[in-house]
Symmetry: C2
Subunit: 238 residues, 2 copies
């Protein structure tokens, strides 16, 4: 059964007995979404924890003025809305399906019952949320201290790790990725992203087209992410 394997390989269920996995699958609901569907929306009461089976979700928040921020992408085997189900509040983001997406979903009650019955799952969940927290804090620091080009470099490197695929001449980020998306991930505008990518393209670091980026010299990007002329905000603590 493919679902069993997917669950067993997910961070939420890893290390659990097959019986537990079966039990989890039994009380899950299968769910499908078409491209551009919102699986759940920021601010709604959080009712379902989703685990992506195939496809991908894009998690976004909107500012009061309508500006969009992309928190992250959720791929196969990854869970989302964990936070919301565990602290019992509202969804902190909107989840957009990118292309057709299949998911398993657990109601808050079902998931809490699972966690209570199988402590290993609670510890897994704890680890999962902790890792997410660590990553967001990292990005918070970047946003607070680094400049745009540096942040874009880091965003691309993260995407390479998530969805990178070897092609001739470099590594392709294997998903539709617009300038607007990159801007919403890095707290800038699509215009600035466009300028930065154009510059890098002229330097042979990347090659890009419509919703498509290929990294030709990854180590060049790494250098940009780490060595770029710093904006020394705040003072040192000598």
């Amino acid at each position: 059964m493919r679902l069993l394997d997917l669950l067993g390989g997910s961070k939420l269920f890893q290390g659990a007995d097959r019986a537990v996995l079966a039990e989890a699958i039994a009380c899950a609901r299968e769910q499908r979404a078409k491209a551009e569907d919102a699986v759940f929306r920021e601010g709604e009461p959080a009712e379902w924890l989703c685990l992506v089976v195939t496809g991908r979700l894009k998690l976004t928040q909107v500012g009061s003025d309508g500006a969009e921020v992309i928190l992250r992408f959720v791929g196969p085997g990854e869970a989302t809305a964990a936070l919301a189900v565990f602290d019992g509040a509202v969804y902190p983001a909107t989840a957009w399906a990118e292309g057709g997406t299949r998911m398993l979903a657990w109601s808050r009650e079902a998931m809490q019952a699972l966690l209570r019955t199988h402590p290993v799952l609670a510890l897994n969940a704890l680890q999962l949320v902790s890792e997410r927290l660590r990553e967001v804090q990292e990005r918070f620091r970047e946003l607070a201290t680094e400049r745009v080009a540096q942040r874009i470099a880091r965003a691309l490197l993260r995407l390479v790790r998530q969805t990178g695929r070897k092609v001739e001449g470099g590594v392709l980020i294997d998903m539709p990725l617009s300038r607007h998306d990159l801007a919403a991930m890095t707290g800038t505008t699509l215009f600035t992203v466009s300028r930065v990518l154009s510059e890098w393209e002229s330097q042979g670091i990347i090659e890009s087209g419509r919703e498509r980026v290929v990294i030709k010299r990854p180590h060049g990007l790494v250098a940009l992410a780490e060595d770029l002329p710093p904006s020394r905000r705040g003072a040192e603590r000598p």
Copy 2:
């Protein structure tokens, strides 16, 4: 016993039996830090989960160039390094004691044993970390979409909620708070903070001095936090 009450009132231990609290205290280590001490440092292997008894910790990260970012302050009854102990990696931040600080500390092994033995604690921890994640995502969005004055207003309002104390003429933020601190919390420079606060002081919204801020018209700050001329980064999704 005062420790019992503190634990019972903390988010990590709330709802636990008195026997569990006693067990937890029994396997905790008491720890003290003087002003300016680092209780733990970013990047060190995470070994101890700390719960502040009296005093306060300041959690900071540093960028590669030495710029300081303040993640948050940890007051009595609050825990920190939860993340690090649960995902088993390194401390993601440095914890500075502000004034003399007393803490209870659990080793990773002790805490994991507690969590395994008492599922209610694991669920509490999950809720705790989830709330932290929610808050950091919120601040990430602010940093990505709002301008400096707006972010400073929000930071002050958060501090009021944490340490606000009524005084004649307004609400005092009851801790030493420099312009540099505010800058490190909001991703800007101490110069910009100084200018913004001067402006607000001339408008009668706040009253400030050396490492001291009194909010005279909180609703004025709220208005600034929510209505300020937006920087419409990113495009709308119509």
